[in-house]
């Protein structure tokens, strides 16, 4: 029972930290979050794509699914699965920051000039 309360405390503190991070990023307005884009792509593909590909139970989601403002709002709310659970349950907070960076940097209205080759 004591273990559970400790766990609850840890979870609520972590959630508070994540929300503080997300709120501070929201306050930065249109600037990009300071996570690691490359790692965000890796975590997104490794964790999110399992359910969020075409035909899978979560439906296809890519960075282009939302605009930058919509992604910011999504991460500010911090809810996953139609609001049934918090994002922190899906992924560690540092990974969330990286995924958020990746999704915002490549959102439907982001600046994505094409290049020659890769």
């Amino acid at each position: 029972m004591r273990m559970n309360r400790k766990l609850q405390l840890v979870i609520s503190s972590l959630t508070a930290i994540v929300f503080a991070v997300l709120l501070s990023m929201a306050a930065m307005g249109a600037s990009s979050p300071k996570g690691n884009d490359g790692k965000g792509r890796y975590y997104f593909r490794q964790t999110c794509k399992e359910c969020h590909t075409k035909g899978a139970k979560g439906g296809e989601i890519t960075p282009l699914t939302k605009t930058q403002a919509q992604w910011r709002s999504y991460f500010l709310k911090g809810k996953h699965g139609g609001g049934s659970e918090t994002l922190i349950k899906v992924m560690a907070d540092t990974q969330l920051l990286d995924v958020q960076t990746y999704l915002i940097n490549h959102a439907a209205d982001s600046l994505q000039p094409e290049t020659c080759g890769k």
């Binding site: 884009d37 490359g38 209205d109 600046l111 994505q112 000039p113 094409e114 290049t115 020659c116 080759g117």
Partner: protein, 723 residues
Amino acid sequence: MDRRRFLKTTSGTAGAGAIASSLSCSLRKRGTVSRGGRREVPTTCELCPNKCSVVAVVEDGVIRKLNPNPENPKSRGMLCARGNAGFLQAYDPNRLKRPLIRAGARGEGKWREVSWDEAFDYTAQKLTAIKEKYGPQGVLWSSTEAFAEIFFKNLGLAFGSPNIVRHPTLCLSSVNLAYSTTFGTVPSFDLLNANYVIMAGANRFEALITPDTMDLIDSTMNRKTRLICLDPRFTVTASKADQWFPIKPGTDMAFILAMLHVVIAEGRHDKEFVVNYCTGFEQLTEHVKPYTPEWAEKETEIPARDIGRIAREFSDAAPRAVFYAGRRSSWYQNDFQMRRAQAILNAIVGNWDRQGGMVPNAKIALGEYMFLPWDDPKAPRVDEMDKNFPLAAQGDGAYLKLRENVLAGSPYPVKGWMIAKQDPLNALPEQAKTLRMIEQMDFIAAIDIQMSDSAWYADVLFPESTYLERWDPIEVMSGIWPVVVLRQPVIKPLHDTKPCLEIVQGLAKRLGLQQYFDFTIEQWNEAAAKELPIEMPLEYLKKHGVFTPPGGPKYGATLNPEHRFVTKSGKIELYSERLQENGHDPLPVYHSRPEPPYGKFRLVIGRKAFYTHANSTSNPWLFDFAPENRLWINPASARSAGVADGDQVEVASSVGAVQLRAKVTQEIRPDCVFMLHGFGKRSPWLKRAYNRGGSDAALLETAWDKVSGNAAMHETFVKVRKV
């Protein structure tokens, strides 16, 4: 003479195409064929960015010839002169055959053959020393597009350097940025089905013979597509066009703005398309009012009545009408805005995603070998992309600005240079500055198949296996009809060479970065192929060399008013708020270019389809087509300079001088002179090309497009005198 010989070769290629048609049937049935000592192996060409599919005929371990692989609709059963001659790379007696470490002064040409271990150890030690003294940002990693480029680039990033500089700012970055800004993507031009094509400065019948060149030839010859050519030279493309206008150099944008004026003033735009898919039409309408054909005539020296007529013909032919973006580099410091004007003109006549118009490239999803990436570099880029070119592709860098900052040691020193499949001494304008950049480096290593001019000045050389001796990552060639291609070895490496991945792994191991490259090319390709909708995809690719999804080209997928373009507004942006927010003109504003002063000429440059940039001039078959470049000069200009046809002349700009022979010809305007790119080689190992003709890189001054950072290659004035 050149043209005749080239046509002879391409006819040969067409013959080879017919042979290959029957060959492809056998391939479809049996894949890689082995009969006695004879094998036929499908793989992918590397002689240019088009990456056509080929079938190598190998007898007793020796490549006898390369045939086109008609299974690839992108290469359409064609292999150009370069593609045919490509196998001579493997048998070049002067190629790089084993690792070398410099034994004398830089550029002295004294080398010591070493083992791979010694080359890796020595390089890792030098890179580590620079990292300890200057930080990881003290090493520059530069490369040009290639299937395996990703491994080299990733090594630089894993090393911790933000300074990865790729080729696009010497290539198409102004085009890519202008079309990305307008449409959120860079489309293909459906030349096969277009009825009206305008080419400005693009010389597709002569400078780059790829399958879409053949489309255009087919269209103009058989379907009577109208081709309008604007070029200060009477090029081969001009000779095949319905009309050629020797436009005054640097005024293309004036021509386009006047076309926009006519199309809008006469209500010839596609009104429904503009309403449904575009933003900023009202601002555009106001903006182009002053740009009348009469105004443009004074700038371009093209009669106003012709500009008006072409605007009407173009809009009448739409949507099967394109103002072709071309596959050429930037010429002027306003190149991005000129490309924007093109993109806007194409947009308002409604040729987007329509047959014969501009079509967004279709892609095929590949799988991915997953590994956890590295931490982000801590230092900013040395070229300060975020400040200087915030809208451009940040990861590509801006080569000329980067060179300026490296030479100035600002904002920090860069003292190491790793180079892969690139020859900066010939690719960058102002060769003397590139030489100064080389001089100030503590260490330089190059990965190449040949002793390029830049390799000649390196400290360590890693010999790469040629494209016919190695595996490379599977690639998607996106386009109107995308395909997946595989490059596999046709023969075993003839010398002590390695593919790029193994060179990168050898260095990574010694730099403590092996965890990022702990895979084989087989594992990489298996992961990439596994998502293809075919059984045993990798085996299929090994057998066929190419996977083509069924169904052919598709048009109109984005023609749905609900479709969101990848732009700030979600629409096609005629007026760009993003440009305005970043201090650039939101609509293209014309500024006249300076005229050449008395006694000087504008230097214009170009290419021949025999050569890829500056790197195949020593290929024996290709060299025979054009063993040297000449300076094209108009007879009136030649008279005033005292020059006769065939004379050796000195061409001098503010940054250098070269000598070459003059070609006195009516086929160029009197205010400019022309020379082919890629000659005047410094490396004696390039036996044929060494010291032949003059180097344009030695003459061109440093200038770049203000938005993209793309090198501006036609901003240089030169003097010409007989020697």
